[in-house]
Symmetry: C2
Subunit: 149 residues, 2 copies
């Protein structure tokens, strides 16, 4: 049996490839994973560029670049921070929310297929196991999302 990180990397890649393919089939410009993760992040909480960088596990400059792209493409907009004149909140536009919704559906499909392939109970155990490990090793603050290569 392959070691755990190899399994993780391969599965991540396999899922990502499929997601990417289907997105293209629909005819939607496939953003990079980072963009999707930002959407998902912004859905939950208001965030500044710095917050985003921390969440992704990259520098604020890198995060700013991503945020600017998303802004340019109309998925997010920046609004002034209510109390801090330096900062800006990055928030999802309707277009951004729509994209996220569609992507979520796609992910649901993929996860459903995964459940069918390996058994819903097994998948549930996998998810809970990974989540438990993350809590154990990192407590509340999650590791960056960016896989180190």
């Amino acid at each position: 049996m392959e070691p755990v990180p190899v399994l993780l990397a391969m599965t991540y890649r396999a899922l990502g490839d499929q997601f990417h393919d289907r997105l293209r089939q629909i005819g939607l410009e496939p953003l990079r994973p980072a963009h999707g993760y930002v959407f998902r992040f912004l859905e939950e909480k208001r965030a500044t560029t710095v917050d985003i960088g921390q969440h992704l596990g990259v520098t604020k400059q890198a995060a700013a670049k991503i945020a600017n792209e998303l802004d340019e493409w109309g998925y997010v907009l920046k609004e002034p921070h209510p109390t801090d004149k330096r900062a800006q909140y990055v928030t999802l536009t309707t277009k951004g929310r729509d994209y996220l919704k569609l992507a979520d559906n796609l992910w649901s499909d993929l996860e459903a297929e995964m459940a069918e392939a390996i058994g819903a109970d097994t998948l549930a155990t996998v998810k809970q196991g990974l989540a438990a490990y993350l809590r154990h090793v990192r407590g509340e603050d999650r590791p960056g999302l960016r896989p180190i290569w």
Copy 2:
């Protein structure tokens, strides 16, 4: 619960970060994941640059660069292919095998800690679940190891 790919990415990152830290504690120059994956690959089978590229999920040029680095640092050497005069086999040197052994021990430690954290049975299910999914989705030919970001 976070979606599967997020869990995969975070866990991969968390494991990788720990591995990296410990390798540095020992005082060993931490190669990149790609190098480790190549070691593991070469341990099993003789491989050419092209094979390596395919295994990692990158172009042969990128694979060649990695192989050359490993060669330069003394972890692998290239020997002529017995029948194909164009090709070269890349094989592990003793130094390479030693490094792999040490890395394997480290990974065992990490995996043992993971087992302790989430339960050995759960970990076993996780591994089997991921492996089963990979077989299902890809059959025999594995997806590239490189996580797409």
